[in-house]
Amino acid sequence: MSAFGATDLDLSNRRRERAFRGLFGAMTALLILPVILILGMLVWKGHSVFSLEFFLAHPRNGMTEGGILPALVGTLYLVAVALFASVPLGVAAAIYLSEYAPDNLLTRLINLAIINLAGVPSIVHALFGVGAFVLFFDFGTSILAASLTLAVMTLPVVIVATRESLQAVPQAFREASWSLGATRWQTIRRIVLPNSVSGILTGVILEVSRTVGETAPIMFTGATFYVAFLPMSVFDQTMAMSYHLYTITTQVPGVPEALPFAVALTLIAIVLLLNSVSIAFRMVLRGKKKW
């Protein structure tokens, strides 16, 4: 018998290998199925509404006709203002925590708090937003209040994503730079940030895609049922895609069946687009090995 022959053990291992591969494969298929079904249904039921007018017109006739322009613009506005607040703050905090803070109990507590903050349900953020931004700071229900609420909600995720990208830069690079006489800031600017900025961007884009669909944090703080005008300033109220979908499916009578499906599809399309950008980004980066 040669040393290369298959023993009984080998055969049974091979059988088991096949069984598990099959099992895990089936699970994956089971997961993908609902996604395909949902998308398929949205396209099937909603496609008849799509036209240029759908994207460029205001809703008409008690929101049973017309387009979604103010909601689309409102969502972009909300997300942009939210980013404007959360990205600089989040990146700065992450840089502090990763590059400056000593590794002590306090820092670990802060890190723990941030991770837990990311798990707070969005309705709780909504209530915080009402209390803090709408009432205490007296911004009223406005884009500003809603965006800040979104910003608070996304901040922990921005911090965690940024910190992870920073920490992916090997410590040896920092030590080499410091021993050349560089300050911490010089090291961050010349070595650490250039090699983590793409990871940070990827995290931010993913974050945006999550923010786009949020409803709870904006419905009490700045999103409104219907406005005839596009928002002009951050103190205006605005319509938003997610809230619009909620109202036309549950609050307004007589909406044609296809309309909510088309709105939902648009919302998902925005998210998918952002996610693909983020994935493409990562793929380009992975191809560009730097060490």
């Binding site: 690079f173 030590e175 080499a176 050349l180 006489g181 560089a182 300050t183 060490w291």
Partner: protein, 259 residues
């Protein structure tokens, strides 16, 4: 304790009662020794004997390391390094080469130009002159002169280690610290770097931590033997290797009885 013949006037570096702790762990206990100008001081010793910690204390990297605590006195040219108000200026005078080559993820040119830029040299001609001179001294110029703008972090290990040396030289250091530089480098490159070090001795003082006792024998004027945080002894290299040693533990180590 070890007797140290002291002559402050001719010491480049004086170390007195140096103790290094990481929390509860004592990495180095009450070490005193002198390094003379333009000598190569070899430091040998088994793993965890505190060799790297010793080097890190000299350029005050303990301040960048959580939990590392240094006490005692280290004087560079007679001035306690802890008293230097500008730690960055101190570090610029001390070149460091690490065990694993660290080509920074910058172009080869920028790797060597980084330190000059940090000290305010920005005009292109001067930078080009420095880069060429340092790469030449590190025996790397001929291999990379046609691709100065490709990434330094993607060079081979041996090339990156010479790049690290070129980068250290761009600091125009008067003290060069090498920590087991040959660990990830082929024997041919090791020999080339050893030749470079022999030349550099004319211009600077070198502390060479090495796990190859023969390397210490080839290069070091004097050699210190560290063991478990103690400086067992320090003396002329030939004395150690010709068995004119005072301590049994040194003989044991040199003859490979532990380590």
């Amino acid at each position: 304790m070890v007797e140290v013949e002291r002559d402050t006037a001719v010491s480049k570096l004086e170390v007195e009662g140096l103790t290094i702790r990481y929390g509860e762990t004592v990495a180095l206990k009450d070490v005193s020794l002198d390094v003379r100008p333009n000598e190569i001081l070899g430091i040998i010793g088994p793993a965890n004997s505190g060799k790297t910690s010793f080097l890190r204390a000299i350029n005050r990297m303990d301040e960048m390391t959580d939990g590392m605590h240094v006490s005692g006195r280290i004087a560079l040219d007679g001035t306690d390094v802890r008293r230097w108000r500008n730690v960055y200026a101190l570090r610029r005078r001390i070149g460091v080469v690490f065990p694993l080559p660290v080509g920074l993820p910058l172009s080869i040119f920028d790797n060597v130009a980084l330190s000059p830029r940090l000290r305010g040299v920005h005009d292109r001609a001067s930078l080009e002159e420095i880069v060429e001179r340092c790469l030449t001294r590190a025996a790397l110029w001929d291999e990379v002169k046609d691709r100065l703008h490709s990434l330094g972090s993607l060079l081979s290990g041996g090339q990156q280690q010479r790049l690290t040396i070129a980068r250290a030289l761009s600091q125009e250091p008067d003290l060069l610290l090498l920590d087991e530089f040959s660990i990830a480098v082929d024997p041919v490159t090791t020999m080339r770097i050893e030749d470079i070090l022999k030349e550099l001795r004319e211009e600077m003082t070198i502390i060479l931590v090495t796990n190859l006792v023969q390397q210490a024998r080839r290069l070091a004027d004097r050699t210190a033997f560290f063991l478990k945080g103690d400086l067992v002894e320090v003396g002329p290299t030939e004395d150690l290797f010709m068995r004119r040693v005072r301590d049994r533990r040194t003989t044991d180590y040199l003859e490979g009885r532990f380590g």
